[in-house]
Symmetry: C2
Subunit: 359 residues, 2 copies
């Protein structure tokens, strides 16, 4: 079965194609802004999911105070398109990046993260080149063992180093608690806060993150803002995590069934170069709306292997199906553009302007 809209998408854009429903996008923006407003924290969405200045501006028009980027290259695209308040939640390292960071400071208000003294030493160079003060937040590890200092004592020491570094200003703390880690994050933050206050410092930004933390937003006493990323489109992971419903999933991958060589199996024209091998910890690689019991079992680069064993309905060759991907952020990053629709009507094409900006 191919819906009338899917037939139009296939005819005019070809498959595999990414399609977003702008009614749902706007609803997601309003819903999360309301969550932030109710929690009393500012909304600073993470653009890693959509990588689009147009969507970022919609988020800001909806009430966001600015945006979050993970990579400098993303921030450059956003600043070049008029976004003027950007948090880069990442350790930037190397002279090449410091020269670019300095140039970026001239275009927008930039805040960067650091979790070690080597990074802080580098950031001084950017401020020296630009001649502009640079706000730095201390990234704290609150359970993910990713980036972030491991102890409040280290956070305090790094805050002191930033404060005493020429051109740099201590701006606060960046946290990314796990869904169950908020009490521990509170304890970490309270100790770090007491320590920096003893030094005469006061955090202006205390940033928490994550769409799966929807239910926790505002529960860190002292938090000033939150970084929601995936909520803009949502995906199968967010539905599984309870932070979205299927109706909140704004993005579908439209894919054509190109082979049905056996009765219990088929091949989609969307493989690991389209849907990526990121399972998000789930079984199967996405939900097919037309055949929810079919399983996208595995991939070749341009082949999605359909296991139809448990599916009472079976697509035929030529059918165009709609897939809710497991992890939407990495799928968006595979495409240069996304088709925008409202309901059943195509309204335009959205460039994924910061796609592949991984430097």
């Amino acid at each position: 079965m191919t819906t009338p809209l899917a037939a139009i998408i296939a005819r005019d854009y070809g498959t595999p194609a990414l399609v977003i429903d702008m009614d749902r996008v706007e609803r997601n923006i309003a819903r999360i802004q309301a969550v932030c407003d109710a929690a009393g924290v500012a909304n600073r969405p993470h653009i890693k999911t959509h990588k689009s200045p147009l969507i970022a501006k919609m988020q800001i028009a909806g009430g966001a105070i600015g945006i979050t980027c993970q990579k400098l290259g993303e921030a450059e695209i956003m600043a070049d398109n008029g976004i003027d308040d950007i948090l880069i939640s990442y350790n930037l390292v190397g002279d090449e990046k410091m020269a670019r960071l300095a140039a970026l400071q001239a275009k927008a208000k930039i805040t960067v993260a650091a979790d070690n003294a080597f990074v802080v030493e580098g950031l001084k160079k950017a401020a020296a080149i630009s001649g502009l003060p640079l706000d730095v937040v201390v990234e704290c590890d609150t359970g993910r063992q990713r980036a972030g200092v491991e102890t409040p004592a280290e956070a305090i020491e790094l805050a002191r180093l930033i404060d005493t570094s020429e051109g740099l200003s201590f701006a606060g703390f960046l946290l990314y608690p796990t869904e169950t880690g908020w009490p521990a994050a509170q304890k970490f933050y309270d100790e770090a806060l007491a320590g920096v206050r003893a030094l005469g410092l006061e955090p202006r930004i205390v940033s928490t993150g994550g769409t799966p933390n929807l239910k926790n937003v505002g529960s860190l006493k002292g938090a000033t803002e939150h970084r929601f990323g995936t909520y803009i489109y949502n995906d199968r992971m967010q539905v599984e995590a309870g932070s979205a419903t299927w109706d909140d999933c704004a993005l579908n991958v439209y894919s054509t069934v190109v082979s049905r060589a056996g009765p219990d199996r088929g091949i989609l024209d969307a493989g690991s170069k389209t849907l990526t091998s990121d399972t998000g910890g789930l079984d199967g690689h996405g939900l097919i709306l037309e055949h929810p019991e079919a399983k996208i079992a595995r991939f070749a680069e341009e082949h999605g292997f359909l296991d139809l064993t448990r599916s009472n309905t079976r697509p035929k060759v030529g059918d165009v199906v709609r897939i809710v991907p497991n992890h939407v952020c990495v799928v968006v990053n595979m495409f240069d553009e996304i088709v925008m629709v409202r309901g059943e009507e195509v309204i335009g094409v959205l460039p994924v302007a910061a796609r592949g900006r991984l430097k």
Copy 2:
């Protein structure tokens, strides 16, 4: 430890960066051409790995008879850059693709694959639009349960259908045997060959595939050509499969260590948006040449999680390391360009011209 070349790459191009050694690329081209020559089969390399017309032309200059593409969009880029003999080893479906295929026929000699009657019916439209005859090979499943008819009887029937279809010409068979599946593929092919000969047809192309099939090339009696893809750069999977040595691995991902928050762990600036979540069935996500006992254990989108527990040498923040990825084909597809070097000298930048051409 950062090598002098890595310091230059980081300074001039930033990290993460893809770097290929053109001496090794040229050696790989010569080595595989020699394998094909010795086996008495023509070399039709699969460009899905490099997605570069420049590299494709080097392969042809080295003796290849043409190229293989997986997607129409890849073939369009290649034809627009002067490659004139292209096999698209994929079921093309839909009117949008048929119009593009017809336009492509005017630019290059095109052969396409089909494994079902619906695809054949569509291909007739392309030939009707272009007014040019279209060569079609029958894709046969020889053990992978991907695309391909499951039985010789189906292959014969599809050959007959192609031969009697206006504008189409039966060109032969496309096979992709598993490493251990060549005797079964021989049996399949022999039966299909006898069947089509009984219809008065003769295959001009009998194509086998896969770099891991290096040792099997030429062992299918009747094979006319082979599709080598990954060999151009090689990767950790090919080394594990015994079809390449570490010295044959021409591509490295250069990545900076940006965090060392704990003694036994670190963070690379290469995450799932750089190295992809495709493990290739291996443990860990790549070999770090400077720290072969370190494990790239898992990813966030822009973070590579280094497990240093078993590594006696440990990188410090700011070090630029070189990674041999598990599966090079999907990594190349994340980058718009690759830095070319010879030994320790940078010689230029290679556009990944067909990156993201997934339609």
